[in-house]
Symmetry: C2
Subunit: 151 residues, 2 copies
């Protein structure tokens, strides 16, 4: 293999126990990538990669995704400056998910809403079984209107 | 809302900025759930939930998933004893992904291969651009053959 080519999917044992990268892309050609802060371990976002985005990420050391909403490649931080420098990529037993440990450039935030992590709310359950969301990040890192413009 | 009913999807502002849980399920009716160890922050696995699995998880405090391979509900740990006690559930900006912070019962492992985390391998890039996988967990927590039987 050269230039981050992937091996063909093998049998269960080779996928789970082997040392060849044989990612499983779903029906849309995508694999889920969980992005964590290499310093704190906090989950920052979940993105999706197609084979080409994964190759670019491995080759450049900066995270590329496939935007499902825009149906286009997306280099994280290209507009916002929030470039993800990839320190480590893990894969799971059946190689259908990835964990990227990253450090974030620019203002250090990941979420377009302004928070450090996209996971800035937790589910809180009331005594009657109803749920609501509560902030776990008190303050935004930046005001998106100043970066992306209003509206 | 009662008994973990979900709100209907609202506009962008209410999804991103509101306090109502309005999860976005994909075309297969699923939402990705990243499971982390509440003590260490390590990512243990990525599972998928349909609306009913998410409701059961919120109501019982133990993690339920939808198995895409078996097309059935799956209470994690029902066979293995590796029950996930859910300490916190986070959702992201567009509410199409979840983070579950859990403590794991039984032998404390999560992966059916025997490791503590399903993410027991990292991608290593050689000088020529080729990749291979390398263990990040030195030892298995348990021998799956002893739990699930051989073959």
């Amino acid at each position: 293999m050269s230039q981050a080519e992937f091996a063909e999917r093998g049998d269960k044992k080779s996928v789970e126990d082997g040392d060849l990268l044989m990612p499983k892309f779903d029906a849309d050609g995508l694999i889920a990538a969980v992005v964590t802060d290499v310093a704190t371990g906090d989950v920052l976002m979940v993105g999706y990669m197609n084979a080409e985005a994964l190759k670019r990420t491995i080759e450049t050391g900066e995270a590329w995704y496939w935007s499902r909403s825009r149906q286009s490649f997306w280099k994280k931080g290209e507009t916002s400056g929030q470039i993800q420098s990839v320190q480590e990529i893990l894969t799971d037993c059946d190689q259908d998910a990835l964990v990227l440990k990253v450090s974030v450039a620019g203002n250090g935030a990941t979420c377009h809403v302004g928070y450090r992590s996209c996971f800035y709310r937790k589910i809180v359950k009331a005594a009657d079984g109803s749920t609501r969301l509560e902030r776990v990040e008190a303050d935004k890192v930046y005001d998106p209107a100043e970066v992306y413009g209003k509206g």
